[in-house]
Symmetry: C2
Subunit: 340 residues, 2 copies
DNA sequence: ATTGGCACTCACCGGGTACGAGTGCCAGCC
DNA sequence: GGCTGGCACTCGTACCCGGTGAGTGCCAAT
């Protein structure tokens, strides 16, 4: 069936081009891959593939390179999953095992991902709204200022200083602390607003003024303006091959420093499936010459992802290997976070 | 006096080269700067300057560019201080004013520094060892695990999970919390070891086993393995002009991702004076084609700096402007941290 | 449908040349 | 003694130009 072979040709083109970074011609292709037909036949197939928009030629007398659309069908239909090597699996476990706290987990993950894939890696901290309250601490700074510290089950710590309308004493702060913790501990932050709504009514009368101002701060911190954070590593991998981004490295690096942009990249991951966005499929303008491979990580087997992680690289990347690495790291990160 | 003029020539060369990024020749130089002598005279001066190692020519028939040594005498003797513009001052205050917590302060500072100087900016979190204990919190995770959270006066929060040898109850944890806080609050972490030494003896008998394991963790976290942290922004400024780092952008970016390297860069700042290290003066190999302008920031007017901040850029940079910006940001960061 | 053949295109490479910025040196001048 | 104008020289850059070869598209034959 000649259509099958046409896709074999496309697969071969993608693989060769990813490996060599050079436009691939009909002759070399017919030889190196054992698809027992002559270069002329390959040429015919190429002509069709080009007409259908899967490949293109940079200039008349050169070979073909895949288009975004070509990569798309490659990852969707043609790529066979590439299992990680034993060494890679070992690297992942040993690397993440020694982490002492959340910062450590996130930092190690991002470095790991960057080294495994040789791309720029991005890891999001567990989203506040999807975490649960582990503990809420109130520290008296002085008579009119209170430090509110929120600790989540994923290990995130958020703090805010609250200016008080009137002086407080240690004792009532202690009561409030106890009250808030029994009410909030274990609660999903996403449900915090609802839980907070009827809280003033059930609180001891004398705590209510203090309670309301503290609650307002907590809700503002974690619900209205949740401080979603992202970190990046391996930026130097971008210029491993300078030809990848002809003149556009600057904008790409700029985009990678914009938390907002990164959150959008990672925000659309659903559960723990790996998402691939190729070139122009990215709606972020500076990244339209790049591909993003991302996945969410979850502490539980199922459920809403706590956060996302992934890598950014040239459209010409090793998709099977990258996908495998991202998936594996996402699994392990979820696992490690689930333990604590 | 002809020696004065020679240095005028050097200053002019540095300024022109920084501005144009091109080797500067005798003719253009004699014209553009009003140093009423002929090109021929300038050539003679240049010959001397070259012999003394202040300038060099990239190839025979090109103009001169400053050497590291040339930049050195420029910053030491020739550069006149360049005051910040009103707009820049305003940017600094408004930018740092809205910060809600330490992370926010540090992130805003590093972005600010990057935009002001158009270089890569680096900011260190306040050093743990030079901070004071504000509060120590113990959260019971389960019967055998305790979460220890340390909050410093500079707003840093460090947490560690402690595995306990035996089960504990809320009550003794509460006692221990009270005990530790009265003993540690306000203490410099640098003095924590000393203070901890005799602590077991004065503690209530029944708390001692628990105390020792918690203390061990705290000391390990903040004294033996203090988690000094650094963040970077503006990496894309490195390739604002690709000619700056002929082939060496990769290594430079790599170096900027190494916490250890960055800490060494910032570690040598003394008080709040601005330090400039030019090219080969850097002992970090990949940065020998770069310059580092750094300063420490202090919460109090005098005293040990809490941490360092600075920028990394090509040796060909606007030293007066960069120095002014780094100094100003360091002052403001210290000020903001002192308030809380 | 596949294949071998063939003419054609065009980027890349190497060599050769013209150009011009910039220098060093020297003789003359203040 | 220091400064200046003049002049020959160097050498990197830009440009041109023909040769080479990889790769293509098309066509006739199988």
């Amino acid at each position: 069936m000649q259509e099958d072979r046409r896709f074999d040709v496309l697969r071969a083109i993608v693989e060769d081009f990813v490996a060599t970074q050079e436009p691939v011609g009909s002759k070399a292709l017919a030889q190196r891959h054992g698809l027992g037909v002559s270069p002329a036949t390959v040429r015919n197939d190429m002509a069709v593939l080009e007409e259908e928009g899967y490949i293109t030629q940079p200039h008349t007398s050169a070979g073909r390179i895949p288009t975004d659309r070509g990569y798309r069908v490659f990852v969707d239909r043609l790529a066979q999953a590439k299992p990680l090597s034993a060494a890679e699996r070992r690297a992942i476990t040993t690397f993440l095992e020694g982490a002492v706290d959340l910062d450590d987990v996130v930092h190690r993950s991002v470095r790991l991902l960057a080294t495994l894939t040789h791309q720029v890696a991005v890891v999001q901290y567990p989203s506040l709204t999807r975490s649960r309250v582990r503990h809420l601490e109130l520290v008296v700074l002085d008579a009119r200022r209170l430090l509110v510290v929120l600790i989540t089950d994923t290990g995130r710590v958020e703090q805010r200083t609250v200016e008080l309308p009137s002086a407080v004493d240690e004792e009532s702060v202690g009561e409030l602390r106890a009250f808030l913790n029994t009410r909030l501990a274990g609660l999903h932050l996403a449900d915090a607003s609802a839980a907070a709504a009827d809280m003033p009514d059930t609180a001891p009368q004398q705590l209510r003024p203090l309670l309301s101002v503290v609650l307002a701060t907590v809700l503002e911190t974690v619900v209205e303006q949740p401080d979603e954070r992202v970190i990046v590593a391996g930026a130097s991998n971008l210029m491993r091959n300078p030809a990848d981004f002809p003149t556009t490295i600057g904008p790409v690096l700029d985009a990678l420093e914009e938390q907002v942009v990164l959150l959008r990249l990672l925000g659309e991951v659903s559960s723990d499936a790996v998402t691939v966005r190729i070139g122009g499929e990215n709606d972020v303008a500076p990244l339209q010459t790049a591909s993003v491979v991302a996945a969410g990580y979850t502490a539980l087997a199922a459920g809403q992802p706590l956060g996302g992680l992934g890598v950014v690289g040239p459209t010409r990347m090793d998709y099977p290997g990258t996908i495998a690495a991202v998936r594996a790291v996402a699994r392990y990160v979820g696992q490690v976070l689930g333990e604590s």
